[in-house]
């Protein structure tokens, strides 16, 4: 209800002040492989139905950001900022709604929190209406902590190279790293300056979305092993997703499904912004 009122007020202001405003949607994916720098892989990350639903049948101009999913937020942020800056200028977009999933929510917080870091950041921030952040590890992810425990670092000799090593985006998402970044580099958490634009979070609270889908077993195993506090979506705990911004709603879709428009129609909810 609160969000509806805020939406109404903002829309009224926008309509009154800028009758010519051109709205666009930006999607920022989460962490993953280096191949997420490939546009088609990034598009597949969301799934066509999520993009279709959010953009009301592709009628709203949209940008699917693609960046190497193994990098730190400040590296990813530079790629994402470059793509948004070029796209918004080329298409005269001056009202941007940002949709993020997982680590994508941290990447956009980096941009919002550091307007002086790069000349492109402030113009982007100026044009953002708000951010809808799905399952962001705002306070870190206990699953990322376990990734460190399971890495080859602790082994000796030839075994080291055979066991997966943490990449930078996973290191970025440990609860320690996010505590550190939240208190020094990022805004919007308790005791820190407010973010310049509103963030609405959507936390995942379900694990078992599809019994024939092996993804659910993997996430449920991770959730059980990690011992995430409270509810979680297999990768990010609810408390962490809700550590920054306003709670929009929670979803039973797990971490794999809450970036898609399948188990729960999250894309339909995102489309209500337009």
């Amino acid at each position: 209800m609160k969000r509806t009122v805020i939406t109404g007020v903002v829309l009224a202001i926008l309509l009154a002040a800028t009758a010519e405003a051109k709205t666009g949607v930006v999607f920022i994916h989460g962490k993953g492989g280096t191949d997420l720098a490939n546009a088609s892989v990034a598009r597949a990350y969301w799934g066509e139905d999520m993009i279709r639903a959010t953009t009301k049948g592709f009628t709203i101009p949209h940008l699917i950001c693609s960046y190497d999913g193994t990098q730190y937020m400040w590296v990813a942020g530079q790629t994402v900022a470059g793509q948004i800056y070029n796209w918004m200028n080329a298409n005269a977009i001056d009202d941007i709604v940002v949709e993020t999933h997982s680590f994508g929510g941290v990447v956009i917080r980096w941009i919002l929190s550091n307007p002086t870091y790069d000349y492109r950041y402030q113009p982007i921030i100026d044009r953002i209406r708000w951010v809808n952040s799905i399952a962001p590890p705002n306070a870190g992810s206990e699953a990322a902590n376990v990734a460190g425990t399971l890495s080859g670092s602790w082994l000796t000799g030839w075994m080291v190279s055979l066991v997966g090593q943490n990449n930078d985006s996973t290191r970025n998402c440990t609860t320690t790293s996010m505590t550190y970044y939240n208190q020094y580099y990022l805004k919007g958490s308790a005791g820190r300056p407010a973010l310049p634009k509103s963030v609405y979070n959507i936390a995942g609270t379900g694990l078992w979305n599809d019994y024939v889908h092996s993804e659910d077993y993997g996430l449920a195993t991770l959730s059980g092993v990690v011992g995430m506090p409270g509810e979680d979506d297999g990768m990010v705990s609810q408390y962490s997703a809700q550590a920054v911004g306003y709670v929009w709603f929670t979803t039973l879709a797990n971490h794999h499904h809450n970036r898609r428009n399948d188990y729960r129609k999250i894309g339909d909810s995102l489309a209500t912004d337009f």
């Binding site: 890495s151 080859g152 090593q165 996430l219 991770l222």
Partner: protein, 375 residues
């Protein structure tokens, strides 16, 4: 001159960006940076064994479900880069303390209280050896040892086993501090073992530190303080490598009831470069704004962000209202310099104010210097 102009053009525009300032909301409170990250809470342990091992005992504390996750490690590192199905899937045999056996390939059932699931490593979302992983689920674990028989195929180098009891009362809580460690500061590694409300004493608790580039050192033993708390204070880190150091804790012992257990925990801290040092920081009202001045000895040249958070006088509970903040990018050369920042604060005097002053690296993320000054 021409060369200087070209050099100036090469400097990022951000270096010349104006300072950014703001005010906190009327009821916001100053929050000091945490001394350490939230403690890691563990009800699981991890073991990695090479192919020479034919079986491994898993001590289980009981009164909880049990998950046994087996992560096969293939001999060829190239397998980490491929997505295809395993040519010879690995399947372990689990024998319970009562003699029930879940044979390789047997998926078990709800009725038997034991089930086997499989999933692809890529679906977990963290970096693990690729291929098919198995998880064995025991509905209610007995407080005794389970035996996992490992008949590894030829292409396997070993297996990592994670045994978790998600609802166990036996909990290892671990942390490393300080979160942001400047050169010369001691490092505290702390672990706490509790069996429900009771502290667990007499366990062996060790910790290993790994450098930011992932090289682990030798284990150090934590001292049993007799209440369930185990601790060691290191006067220095094994190297000056800057960045996030990881800590892996291992605890093995018996509860007061004689039940054997094992737990693996983690911790992390950021080792700073010691890139700068503040001198005596001062503040005064100048033309209606609050000017904070920080003499600074810069040891590592580069781009930094100069941050100031201003808080008001402490109330009876020691809480301070957060008043204003400011930040500005500074390109600094090595040597002495003076940093200033003007902040919008509705005060006529600096008396009672607190300034949390930070210099943060932008070329390399990290806290170069930090000081808290109260007037």
């Amino acid at each position: 001159m021409k060369r200087l102009l070209i050099l100036l053009l090469l400097i990022p525009a951000s270096v010349f960006a104006a300072d950014v300032t703001g005010r906190f909301g009327p009821h916001e409170t100053y929050v000091a940076p945490a001394e350490h990250a939230p403690a890691n809470v563990s009800r699981m342990f991890v073991r990695t064994v090479t192919r020479e091992a034919t079986s491994i005992d898993l001590p289980v504390a009981g009164e909880s479900g049990l998950l046994v996750w087996t992560i096969p490690v293939r001999k060829s590192a190239s397998r980490l880069q491929t997505n295809g199905a395993d040519t010879r899937p690995f399947s372990a045999r689990l024998t319970t303390p009562t003699g029930d056996v879940l044979q390789p390939g047997d998926d078990g059932s709800l009725d038997r209280g034991m089930r086997r699931f499989r999933f692809d490593a890529a679906e977990v979302g963290i970096e693990l050896p690729r291929g098919t992983h198995e998880v064995l689920h025991v509905a209610r674990g007995e407080a005794a040892s389970y035996r996992l028989a490992l008949n590894m195929p030829d292409d396997m180098a070993g297996v990592t086993i994670v045994a978790a009891e998600p609802d166990s009362r036996l909990v290892l809580t671990t942390l490393a501090s300080p979160l942001s460690r400047q050169p010369g500061e001691p490092v505290t590694l702390r672990a706490e073992l509790r069996d429900g409300e009771r502290g667990v004493i007499g366990a062996r608790v060790t910790a290993r530190l790994a450098t930011p580039d992932g090289k682990a050192g030798a284990p150090v033993e934590l001292t049993d303080e007799g209440s369930g708390v185990y601790r060691v204070v290191l006067t220095d880190l094994p190297s000056a490598a800057a960045g996030a150091w990881q800590v892996r804790f291992e605890a093995d012992g018996k509860t007061a009831d004689g039940i054997r257990f094992a737990r693996t925990g983690s911790g992390e801290l950021v080792n700073e470069r010691g890139a700068a040092r503040f001198g005596t920081i001062s503040a005064k009202i100048v033309d209606g704004v609050l000017r904070v001045t920080a003499p600074t000895d810069v040891k590592v040249a580069g781009n930094y962000r100069f941050d100031v958070i201003v808080a008001g006088a402490a109330d009876a509970n020691g809480k301070r209202p957060a008043l204003a903040w400011g930040e500005g990018v500074r390109a600094l050369t090595a040597g002495s310099t003076t940093l200033t920042l003007d902040l919008p604060v509705d005060v006529t005097s600096t008396e009672g104010l607190q300034f949390d002053v930070r210099l943060l690296g932008l070329d390399e993320v990290g806290v170069a210097a930090r000081a808290v000054v109260r007037q």
